[in-house]
Amino acid sequence: MTDASAQFEGRGRPSLRVQDARTRRRNAAEKRFRAYGLVAIGVGILALFVLLASIFGNGSSAFFQTKIQLQVPLEEKALDKSGTRDPEAMKKVTTVGYGRVLKAALADLIAREGIEIDGLSKRDIDSFLSKEAPAQLRNHVLANPDLIGTTIAFEVMTNGRIDGYFKGRVSLDSAELDSNVSPAQLHLADALKDRGLLGTGFNLDFLTAPDASDQRPEAAGLGVAIIGSAYMMIVVLCLALPIGVAASIYLEEFARKNWLTDLIEVNIANLAAVPSIVFGILGLAIFINFAGLPQSAPIVGGLVLTLMTLPTIIISTRAALRAVPPSIKDAALGIGASKTQAVFHHVLPLAAPGILTGTIIGLAQALGETAPLLLIGMVAFVREYPGAPVEGFFDPASALPVQVYNWTQRADPAFVERASGAIIVLLAFLVVMNTIAIVLRRRYERRW
């Protein structure tokens, strides 16, 4: 004892109350490490915040749209020359004809309201409305031929630049220089707004309408992309979940441990790290060129994403199966259950929450994937909605992430807003899916 205390004294430790140099160094190192951690988290949160702020700042306006109320006289001599009200005969009048009707209605409105603006040319009035409007009116009239001869109240979108004016993207100064909008048009928009004829409201069409060409960014929507993404997720779920679960159960519960299963295991782990574009090349070669499946179709996208998602699902399923205590299976086997019964009656139900969580995370990953879809023709301008399942899986469609990619390449600045709006929709889907995964895990996962 005395020897020991003599030793301490020999190392020159004066008091417990005063820290020696080494302790101070250790404490300082710990403080420094905590500070590094805080800085790391701070940088992460800041980056996320900047990202979200820029996306929401740019994109939230995509959910609003400026529209104008018009009284449109549908005259028989302009729209139904035959006078038969037969839609087939009325189809002869193209959107050009309906465009003229709308322009006349707008000019009429300006005259009726007594709006006078310096320098407002006929061309300004003609280009005030969206180029999508004539098509909407035409479809409306062809669906209800009896409207001919009456005057209907019709709400139409304004040109993307006018819409941009109310969203702060276009100003009177920029309009001076812009060849697609004139300050007179903006004054007209202000005058119409003061009279309550023009307003900006919620834009459901952004979620339901199909894509539109460069000349009408105001009409572009995500309808086809959302359906396409949903179809692909259905295909992925229907293929990846059963295949992945079956493979995991076999590998985990039935397969003998030998070099072959080791090899498979290594390959699955490798497959999870393969860049996704590789799956796109594979999909193009096998599903389109060899199997002859159609281009731009959700079925091909789904099959490619299935290949990509399989390793994720297999790895998480095997982890979930392994987390079930062996005692449960042993008890089942002990009372005479077959191996299959033990697995399907006891192990699998207990592992189900873990499997579902892994599947949902895999699906969320697949939902945001763009690269493999580039190669199989999904980055396309698609305006027709795909049909109902199962035939609809073979119709051309777009997908949410490729729609974002597509819109960022367009020349018209209004598409910047649309692209950010699409990112918001995509993020919303991802947040919902990940939340479901977390809730499932929290509620049903059991720990032993």
Binding site: K131, D214, I288, G292, L293, P294, Q295, F381, R383
Partner: protein, 342 residues
């Protein structure tokens, strides 16, 4: 049990996919990103005004589109390839090898290439010679071939302001690059007399042209492999930089860009149509004749595209920035007669 059910449904799905490949009822188009906006405008109007479904239009570049086009004949191959350049003999041969022998070539109009900088920058009046001197890798000074010594625009031409040389040019995978090299850099090389001097030095015209068109790699000529939106973003962040754009893109962004004149001509659809503005090129699309009559609406789409209502001087394509073809009537007749390339 659940797994069994899943497996059965998966097998059913796989079986359906094997027997599918049902008749395609919409036209499929792929190719040049320069032609893409025009093709989508036409496709949209075509879908609206006819009973045929809206064609599906993919982008990806002229070369990629023509490669896809030449993959063969059949419903899982595309019907039309858009291109911002003429199809090459090599590509025609590749097509023929895959069984695509009857190709209809349709010229839809012309596209101008413009040089623009930030809206608040100074005005520039270029000639091809200025661009050659500013961007060539090697220039001829006093009869000697030296690495490009110029760093400021006023060194190239005393009339220009004291501004760093910096240009964002389309990358080599773009059809626009070829036009830029031939109609601007090579023309400038000839104009300055450098081409002649180079032919004397190299003794071979091809090698001399190659030297002319090689752009400097010291960071003053930046290749943009993306599209014009990327070029615009670069010009936006670097106010002294010049971007090379398509006329249509510029026309849609006149509030952000100041366009420079070339040889004293302001680029516009009129000056390009009259041939005054020197830097322009024709745009095409190619139709697989074997698909006409098999894919519903294919011929109708082609005819609709070149109709006066669409591609004419007052049509929506001209409004977007396409320079309409003075010989459009001949093209219309050619499409109607389904005349193939020789």
């Amino acid at each position: 049990m659940k797994t069994v059910k899943y497996t059965v449904s998966a097998l059913a799905l796989a079986a359906v996919s094997a027997t599918a490949a049902a008749a395609r009822d919409q036209v499929q188009v792929a190719g040049s990103s320069t032609v893409l906006p025009y093709a989508t405008i036409v496709a949209e109007a075509f879908g609206e005004n006819t009973d045929f479904p809206t064609p599906v239009v993919e982008s990806g570049g002229s070369s990629a589109g023509l490669k896809k086009f030449c993959e063969g004949v059949g419903e899982n191959t595309i019907d039309i390839a858009n291109a911002s350049r003429k199809i090459k003999d090599k590509e025609v041969a590749a097509c023929a090898e895959a069984g695509v022998s009857d190709i209809i070539e349709v010229r839809i109009g012309y596209d101008g290439i413009v040089f623009a900088s930030d809206i608040n920058g100074p005005e520039f009046a270029f000639t091809p010679a200025d661009w050659y001197k500013a961007l060539a890798a090697e220039v001829v000074v006093d009869g000697e071939l030296v690495a490009n010594p110029y760093t400021k625009w006023n060194e190239v031409n005393p009339a220009f302001p004291d501004q760093d040389i910096l240009a964002f040019v389309p990358g080599t995978k773009h059809g626009t690059r070829e036009v830029f090299e031939e109609k601007v850099i090579l023309a400038g090389c000839e104009e300055t007399g450098a081409l002649e001097a180079l032919v004397g030095m190299k003794g071979d015209e091809k090698a001399a042209e190659g030297t002319c068109m090689a752009l400097r790699t010291d960071g003053r000529a930046v290749d943009i492999d993306g599209d014009y939106t990327e070029t615009l973003a670069r010009v936006d962040s670097n106010k002294a930089g010049f971007g090379v754009f398509g006329l249509a893109f510029y026309e849609n962004n006149t509030d952000k860009l100041r366009v420079a004149t070339m040889s004293g001509v302001v680029p516009s659809t009129e000056s390009i149509a009259s041939g005054e503005y020197p830097v322009s090129r024709p745009l095409y699309f190619y139709i697989k004749k074997a698909h006409i009559g098999v894919i519903p609406g294919l011929k109708e789409y082609a005819e609709f595209f070149v109709s006066d209502d669409m591609a004419g001087p007052d049509g929506p394509l001209a409004a977007y920035g396409l320079v309409s073809d003075p010989e459009l009537a001949a093209t219309q007749a050619m499409v109607a007669a389904e005349e193939t390339m020789k």
